[in-house]
Amino acid sequence: MTRKHAVAPAIAILLAYSQVWAQGESVRFEAVGDAIPRALTSEPGNAARGRSIVVNRDGGACTLCHAVPGEKNFGNIAPTLAGVGARLSPAQLRLRVADSTRVNPDTPMPAYYRTEGLNQVAAAFRGKPLLSAQQVEDVVAWLATLKEAQ
């Protein structure tokens, strides 16, 4: 009897937490045309962090496909990211990073902020987007600084 009383509040707390967690992790955004006008997080993107996500193998690993200003080692599957901040607005950049299949259904570029409609995802990564909402914002912040075509 006493035990039951002790457990109930614990469960309630746990439930409340998991709800917060689910909200925090839910991968959702609203696209308008070819852009996502509203930032995914309230914290503004940090461009310095964004750069390290772009070039890092454990982050976005964008250099697998894109040339990136200041990097010597990169793939040549995709156009260079130099000047991308002049070609596209932050809102357009956000959609291309979050889910570029919305712009080109056959693109090889992974959807970095999407968990639905994927097939046979390895168990360790299932239900998780490649980048968190904050990471997407950081990346967009850095891309937006790339005004010069090299």
Partner: protein, 260 residues
């Protein structure tokens, strides 16, 4: 009369399917390139030198195993295959096994001989023995063009393989075609993507420091895009192997390949 017309319709359909197939090839026969074309000259030289190619150790081991007695019937492969050459055999796999009606690859075929004829235990996928025997048999088709069949019972497997090849999958949401049809010759970071052909397998891979099967290579691609890996010998892998062989139709066998 009705029968004749039905037969005619069937023939027309088959012809149409043949035409579609010929047009459907993402890489036309004249543009087929072996994976070795995309290697550095050092690895290509290593593959072409029989004395230096590390994969030849498995071919030699396979040659010894070929005559080794095994199973309750104490038979060797050589006991049955006395006068028949294995030349050209690997080039026709995967194929439908007549007895079971199932699609089998060369590894499965070797194991069918062991269990069915020799009363021996099947060899485990990626075991040294199975890799050695497979490499030894495949080596005897060196230079012969891949010539698999996709008619009859193989047809459904071919279609399934084609679907598997074009399925976007994994956290990176890529299909085999995204890399090996659309981007071959381009660099993924510093690695040049080849056309993804099966003609060098089993192949010695520097990264593995050993020889591995085609399925092991496919699993490496799947793991790269963070996709689920199926158990060795899964029907989906066999279907994929058949589709890969069809894509590579005409490409000469070069087992054991040497790869990065």
């Amino acid at each position: 009369m009705r029968r004749a017309r039905a037969r005619l319709a069937l023939a027309a359909a088959a012809l149409a399917a043949g035409v579609v197939l010929a047009q459907e090839r993402a890489i036309p026969p004249g543009e087929l390139k072996s994976g070795s074309v995309f290697l550095g000259s050092d690895l290509r030289a290593l593959q072409n030198d029989d004395f230096a190619n590390p994969g030849m150790l498995w071919v030699e081991r396979g040659e010894r195993l070929w005559s080794e007695l095994a199973g309750k019937k104490t038979l060797a492969c050589a006991s049955c295959h006395k006068d028949t050459s294995m030349r050209g055999v690997a080039a026709s796999y995967p194929k439908i096994d007549k007895a079971s009606g199932k699609l089998v690859n060369l590894e499965d075929r070797i194991n069918l001989c062991r269990t069915g004829r020799m009363d021996a235990e099947p060899l485990r996928y990626e075991s040294e023995e199975l890799l050695a025997l497979t490499a030894y048999v495949a080596r005897q088709s060196l230079g012969l063009p891949i010539a698999t069949r996709i008619d009859g019972a193989a047809r459904a497997h071919f279609e399934a393989g084609r679907a598997a090849y074009h399925l976007r999958r994994g956290q990176m949401n890529l299909s085999c075609a995204h890399c090996h049809d659309a981007q071959w010759g381009k660099r993924l970071l510093s690695e040049t993507i080849s056309q993804g052909h099966p003609n060098a397998y089993p192949a010695y891979r520097m990264e593995w420091q050993t020889i591995g099967s085609l399925q092991r290579r496919i699993r490496a691609c799947l793991s790269g895009i963070r996709a689920e890996m199926l158990p060795y010998g899964s029907p989906e892998y066999l279907d994929l192997e058949l589709y890969l062989a069809w894509r590579a139709q005409g490409l000469p066998i070069e087992t054991p390949g040497v790869r990065r």
